[in-house]
């Protein structure tokens, strides 16, 4: 593999210097050289991946921050209404209002909590925000690795798997969290009439399927990585 690479790569000076270093028979360095040489195989494609990943990374950072900030903003300033929240802002003589409503598997619990004067946004919305932030973080890490030129490394595979596991954990949390909320409210005596809720929506099923698929892809990538390592160590 190295010989082929040496014939057509554009980083001959880099390889020459690396060859000189590894001629000192340092095995660890030899492994590092192998990965460096592979990287030189398609430098233009890598450069493009790096540029696109940088853009995606900034997008993820922007959307992630927007998500968290808008949640905090709504939590702090919005007023509860019969079917959600209303955010009113006065700019000059004009008043702008934003109505936030949500209909999903947790809606009946939300209505019951609102009837008991609980802050449903803080109680039910925080789970979604936590998992969304975790997902954004893993995706941000993944694209940071892509930007640095690390594509099929173990750290990429780990990020991939963590994204999948987070999606699946989100579904599990969505199933168990409403039950937990009701049990906590009942046992602490905050409300005696709160019924138990247990529901799964189509969004949860879709999330579960996506998480499963991403985890399987991560597992296949791990197998491919093992094959690649074996190929690298065939002399």
């Amino acid at each position: 593999m190295h010989d082929k690479t040496l014939q057509n790569n554009t980083f001959l000076s880099l390889n020459d210097s690396l060859l000189l270093i590894t001629s000192l028979y340092d095995d660890k360095l030899a492994t590092i050289v192998q990965s460096k040489v592979i990287l030189t195989m398609s430098s233009s494609a890598l450069s493009r991946i790096s540029k696109v990943s940088k853009f995606v990374r900034w997008c993820l950072l922007f959307v992630g921050l927007l998500h968290v900030i808008s949640f905090m903003f709504t939590l702090a300033l919005a007023e509860p209404t019969a079917d959600g929240y209303r955010l009113a802002m006065e700019v000059g003589n004009q008043t702008y209002t934003v109505n936030i409503t949500s209909k999903d598997a947790k809606s009946p619990l939300g209505e019951a909590l609102a009837a008991e004067n609980f802050n449903i946004l803080a109680i039910l919305g925080s789970v979604d925000v936590v998992f969304t932030t975790v997902l954004y973080y893993f995706l941000f890490r993944l694209f940071s690795l892509y930007q640095r030129g690390s594509i099929f490394e173990d750290s990429n595979i780990q990020c991939f798997k963590l994204v999948g596991y987070s999606l699946m954990a989100w579904v599990v949390a969505d199933l168990l969290y409403p039950v937990l909320v009701v049990l906590v409210i009942r046992f602490t005596g905050l409300s005696d009439v709160m019924p138990l809720f247990f529901g799964i929506g189509s969004e949860d099923l879709w999330r579960l399927l996506c998480g499963l698929m991403i985890s399987v892809i991560g597992w296949i990538m791990a197998q491919a990585r093992t094959l690649q390592q074996e190929q690298e160590l065939t002399i």
């Binding site: 010989d3 001629s23 030899a30 160590l233």
Partner: protein, 74 residues
């Protein structure tokens, strides 16, 4: 691993340097280093043939099987 590479022994017998053998066989010194240190997963027949040719030896002089029990001293 139960297969031991005794390339350094043969190199010492032939008074040859790793770099010289690598150049003669047509593989990179780091690949030969990987082979010598026993980290290689597989060796191509063509590589083995070239090494044997340049060191004037048999494959058995380079590759030695040693049972795991013997290695552990049982």
């Amino acid at each position: 691993m139960a297969i031991i590479i005794e390339l350094d022994v043969m190199l010492a017998k032939r008074k040859m340097k790793v770099n010289d053998l690598a150049a003669a066989v047509g593989i990179t010194p780091q690949n030969l280093s990987v082979l010598k240190s026993g980290r290689a997963k597989a060796i191509r027949f063509s590589t083995l043939e070239a090494i044997c040719d340049h060191l004037s030896c048999q494959p058995g002089d380079i590759l030695v099987y040693q049972s795991e029990d013997i290695k552990q001293g049982h």
